[in-house]
């Protein structure tokens, strides 16, 4: 049934449909609406789950590590500082091979205090062993959250469903919400491959000396490598039931494009409009939307972009001393190809600054008129001159 719901609540509805057993969360803007609605669902009996109101994000993740180790379905949500505080336990959850699902609402890191959207918080967690899926709109947030449980429980890795602060989390959109019976057909009850059991006592996460540790890491990588095929198969099922699919990478008008915009999150929606306008003017422009960041969709990216002359990667994130994070990874994905496009890395919209159609158009024309990138990262929309220090 279609309802107009907030992006945050689209995630909450998916968690309700997933019949999660244990939720553990700590308040942080702009994630809070997700768990507020879930708290209501737990208290009014709509969702038969235990809701732990813990004293920090660190404990939110720790509690889910405890719960998932007992073989139940778990969920939490966070943002920014909260995610940073969880960092140690993100490694732990992945290393323990726990299928925890977390909604992460992208918010800039302090200082200065900034609650608006930026992806540096989640991208800084790229080496933790979590699958990361970036969503464009509320429908995708719901669908991806529901799929995330199946993906996590199949490959035994935790999944982070990532959405932009406010532009997505606090925006109301019409969303097709599956009926519970339909969702059950897609997502059966969790059958853990292993869990703590007094009938079969075992030690989990114990000391792993050098002769054991490396194989454990390799098995995580094997799981990561399988995740794209697994996601594809999950999307087949989802499409059959609900008529929607997204793909780890989505390519729009890429076949004949000279220049391809590469985006993630809500900037993608704005770029779709710019793409249409530029196409109407006869520009040979395409769009690649990066949904999966971990695992990184090397093959799909190469297939869709290798023939283009230039890529214009728009990063709403930054790695100091290096550059926009998507741009870095895209360069590394293409570097061994005999024929490859020039990669222009643009940094825009940090700390929630608006990335409008004008900004994206400007990025397109700059890319078209430059023979080479003028810098490793080209910062767009900086106030000039910069305020004196």
């Amino acid at each position: 049934m279609k309802k107009v719901v907030e992006g945050s609540h689209a995630v909450s509805e998916a968690v309700r449909l997933a019949r999660v057993d244990v939720i553990s969360a700590y308040p942080i803007t702009p994630q809070t609406h997700i768990v507020e609605l879930l708290s209501e669902y737990c208290s009014d009996g709509t969702l038969n789950a235990r809701f732990l109101r813990v004293e920090s994000e660190h404990s939110a993740m720790a509690a889910l590590i405890g719960a998932a180790s007992a073989g139940v379905r778990t969920f939490t949500a966070t943002s920014s500082q909260g995610l940073a505080l969880m960092h140690e336990l993100l490694h732990w959850a992945a290393g323990a091979r726990l299928p925890i699902v977390m909604a992460e609402v992208n918010r800039a890191l302090a200082p200065g205090w900034n609650i608006w959207t930026e992806q540096t918080d989640s991208l800084a967690q790229r080496d933790t062993g979590w699958i990361q899926l970036y969503c464009e709109d509320a429908q995708e947030a719901l669908d991806t959250t529901l799929q995330a449980f199946r993906l996590a429980e199949t490959v035994h890795l935790p999944v982070m469903v990532v959405l932009d602060a406010f532009f997505l989390s606090h925006t109301y959109e019409p969303v097709d919400i599956p009926e519970p019976e339909e969702a059950d057909r897609f997502l059966p009850p969790f059958q853990p491959a292993f869990c703590l059991d007094t009938e079969n006592p075992a030690a989990f996460n114990q000391l792993a000396p050098p002769n054991a540790y490396m194989e454990m890491r390799r098995s995580m990588q094997d799981a990561m490598e399988s995740a794209l095929d697994v996601l594809d198969a999950i999307e087949d099922d989802y499409e059959r039931l609900f008529g929607r699919r997204y793909g780890a990478v989505e390519a729009v008008h890429c076949d004949d494009a000279d220049i391809i915009l590469v985006t993630s999150g809500t900037i993608t929606s704005t770029s779709r409009l710019v793409l249409r306008q530029l196409r109407e003017k006869g520009e040979k422009v395409g769009l690649v939307k990066m949904k999966a960041f971990r695992p990184f969709p090397f093959e799909a990216l190469r297939i869709h972009t290798a023939h283009a002359k230039k890529l214009a990667v728009i990063d709403r994130n930054f790695s100091f001393g290096a550059g926009g994070i998507f741009a870095q990874e895209i360069r590394s994905a293409l570097c061994n190809l005999a024929r490859r496009p020039l990669v222009f890395g643009y940094v825009a919209g940090l700390g929630g600054r608006d990335v409008t159609t004008d900004v994206i158009e400007d990025i397109y024309w700059r890319t078209k008129t430059s023979a080479h990138p003028e810098a490793e990262s080209i910062w767009i929309g900086l106030h000039q001159p910069a305020p004196a220090a």
Binding site: I65, G66, A67, L89, T198
Partner: protein
């Protein structure tokens, strides 16, 4: 002496604790008292090592090893999961050292017991970060040498009173116990097991390696800690009802201190000062327990 516990052991021989390790003795008694329907959450501590490397395990109950500061939170989640599975029989136990309890794990512990999560939190206290090589914690007592309080920089701050901090949360049950008083320890574990909500046990666990004592002195030192009032045996129900389980017979703290290398630098004046601190703490405890005391300092 006959103990009211099962003959069965839930701990295998061949664990990798140091000779005379109080924490190994404490674990053995704990599991005897709890039985097989027990799940252990072990944050980073000596027991992360003692329990054995992959793929072996010293314990015959499930063990969930976890990060240093997460004992309270991981147990909360585990308990919640067991509840949703309809398993109300299994006892969830967090087993943490003093560093993981007094210091880095204190927030998660405080959060868990404020929520009155249904689990037993056991702190086995060896009064410093022993697993990393004897660094001071907030449990390290006044007067002690550690590798981070060396030479004349020995610790001149009092040990944090963890039981009183937990009692302030008004939890259903908080108690101290000692490896030198196994029948008292076992009784308290069994009592804790019979109570719902957050239960806290503070177990004195001597450390021959870190305290610079011979391994065969482990139990003797633990007994003296109780006899000198340095580590009184008592329990507190619902944050208010105090019961003192052992009344001392007038031993002086210097007897306890002089047996341990970690205190060998202390002068008579220092020991005098420490005796006064111990007396003060004991009198405070007696007042809370409502026990009258004679002017001479002995219990009337």
């Amino acid at each position: 002496m006959e103990l009211n516990v099962l003959d069965r052991d839930y701990m295998c021989s061949g664990h990798v604790g140091c000779p005379g390790c109080g924490a190994a003795i404490a674990m053995r008694f704990l599991l005897k008292a709890l039985g097989e329907k027990t799940m252990m959450v072990i944050p980073a501590c000596c027991w992360s090592i003692i329990a054995g490397p992959y793929p072996q395990s010293t314990l015959k109950v499930p063990v969930l090893h976890t990060a240093f500061e997460t004992g309270g939170a991981v147990a909360s989640g585990l308990r919640a999961a067991l509840d949703t599975k309809g398993d109300t029989e299994t006892t969830v136990v967090t087993w943490a050292g003093d560093g993981g309890t007094f210091d880095i794990g204190f927030q998660a512990l405080s959060g868990a017991v404020e929520r009155n999560e249904d689990f037993i939190y056991v702190c086995y206290d060896n009064e410093a970060y022993m697993n990393t090589g004897v660094q001071r914690s907030s449990s390290t007592p006044y007067g002690a040498w550690t590798t981070t309080t060396p030479g004349q920089e020995w610790k001149r701050l009092r040990k944090k009173n963890i039981v009183e901090a937990l009692v302030a949360h008004r939890i259903p049950y908080a108690a101290t116990a000692s490896i030198a008083f196994p029948e008292d320890l076992v009784r308290k574990v069994q009592k804790a097991k019979s109570i719902k909500g957050s239960r806290f046990l503070h177990i004195y666990a001597s450390c021959p390696t870190g305290w610079r004592i011979p391994s065969e002195m482990s139990i003797k030192i633990a007994r003296m800690a109780v006899q000198t009032n340095i580590f009184p045996l008592y329990e507190v129900e619902n944050g208010v009802r105090y019961t003192i389980n052992y009344m001392p017979k007038g031993y002086l703290v210097r007897e306890y201190f002089k047996l341990q290398g970690r205190f060998k630098h202390l002068t008579d004046d220092d020991l005098e000062q420490i005796q006064e601190m111990v007396n003060e703490d004991w009198e405070l405890l007696l007042r809370k327990a409502g026990v009258a005391m004679s002017a001479a300092g002995t219990v009337a």
